[in-house]
Symmetry: C2
Subunit: 248 residues, 2 copies
DNA sequence: ACAAAAGTGTTTTTTATACACCCATGC
DNA sequence: GCATGGGTGTATAAAAAACACTTTTGT
């Protein structure tokens, strides 16, 4: 066992063995376009090497005195203005050679990425285009080759979204404040796949839970009977918060 | 918005603003003592400052060229010999001032901890006592004040264990190779709490799933009818792998 | 009038829950 | 023979799944 010959002490005696890191934070920001039933992810065009001109997640390196989460909020605020935001840590990618800058630097600085998972409302989210850097919502099935290992990070984020949808009310972080039950259903099907449930059953199950308030307002989308607009009632949901498995 | 005045470019122009990190890896290693029905976690006594003499999770700093996971395996192998090991990333804690060494160093090196969640079999796990450092299994409800933010990490790990128990077969990573259905039931109750299910129902549900193979071997624990020893049949489980929600 | 979308209800099947009861062993 | 833990079965309640049907709009 290689580690045994140097044991604990070596780390104190020969600190040169330790890797030096810069820590980056990358945000996988999801949203949904209710009108077109498309799941979206926010990409920005890199303005600097490495991967100049490549699409990537909005990211930044962590500054002195700054917490990881604060860094995540910082780039987010640089790229997008939102009223509502859901944010949680996703995963940490830290293998050597995941960032080409490592090779160039003979002192062996490593780049580690702590990724965050975010949900915003499409209509409320105002992208901050500074005229220089590209920024755009991409439908999930049209995401191109991304910088670094960001395609892998996206995989992770997508899986997290699918899982969270089943047992937590994250859908209401992405949907507009007022939505029809069909909007909600369509969102679930686009994320979870066609055959997750019958609309009629989905509908009655959700309504029975009692945290969807009918505003009485009707909305008409072309032909057909107008639908009621619903609102997520956080108070009514509160008692169910720690109960397992409420959706789907 | 403070970030706006320097924007992206500042990071390249004034790299002093970036924090320099050492990255640590800490393992939350769980096991069960089937005989006493106790959920255990592995702690080691710190041999150096800071928190000298304090109990903590086995951890190490990541070396040059070493991946996070490799570092996790490395300390694990230094502290314990196992035949079977389940390991996955848990969470990354990286706020400033989580490590007292940061304050001492005027150059502002930060210490970030990527925690890992591990499961091992108690009977097969051989602790490596080097005569110098303390190492011990602690029942979860007797864990003392730990070094750094390790009590918080433990919280996270415990929650992860509870969740995973419900939808994945991790129990069989901690239980001995051969176990009685009662062992399994007891494990679930100690982790999930008394009232998660009736024994009889738990039993028939699990058996119906078809991946528990009865070896026919009987074992007697004092009085009462001897119990059958079962084995987890990975092959029979394979087709259920990606199905949601199989347990509890 | 009729197609399209919204919304309701009913039937069937499956799963969960609560127990009651039989079985094999040690003392 | 009886206490102790192991193991089986059944009756009831609840939830999931399938699907038929009504209602309200636009054209």
């Amino acid at each position: 066992m290689a580690g045994r010959s140097h044991r604990k002490a070596s780390e104190a005696v020969d600190p040169n063995l330790l890797a030096d890191f810069k820590v980056g934070v990358d945000n996988v920001i999801f949203s949904v376009d209710t009108n077109q039933n498309r799941l979206l992810v926010l990409l920005v065009m890199r303005q600097e090497a490495p991967f100049l001109g490549c699409w990537s997640f909005p990211g930044t390196l962590v500054r002195r005195g700054e917490s990881l989460e604060a860094a995540a909020y910082r780039i987010l605020a640089e790229k997008i203005r939102v009223r509502n935001l859901y944010l949680e840590q996703l995963y940490t990618f830290g293998g050597p050679n995941r960032d080409p800058r490592e090779a160039a630097d003979s002192y062996g600085v490593r780049y580690l990425s702590v990724s965050y998972f975010a949900l915003v409302r499409y209509a409320e989210a105002e992208l901050i285009a500074d005229g220089v850097s590209g920024i755009a919502w991409y439908p999930l099935n049209q995401v191109p080759q991304l910088a670094f290992d960001h395609n892998q990070i996206l995989e992770y984020g997508h899986r997290r979204l699918r899982n969270k949808l089943e047992y937590s009310p994250v859908a209401f972080e992405v949907l507009p404040d007022l939505f029809t039950l069909n909007d909600l259903y369509q969102f679930y099907t686009t994320v979870l796949g066609e055959n997750f449930s019958d609309y009629s059953n989905f509908r009655s199950r959700l309504l029975k839970l009692g945290f969807l308030a009918d505003t009485g307002i009707k909305t008409s989308r072309g032909a057909g009977r107008p639908a009621s607009l619903y609102r997520f009632d956080a108070e009514a949901f509160a008692p169910l918060k720690n109960k397992p498995l409420v959706f789907i």
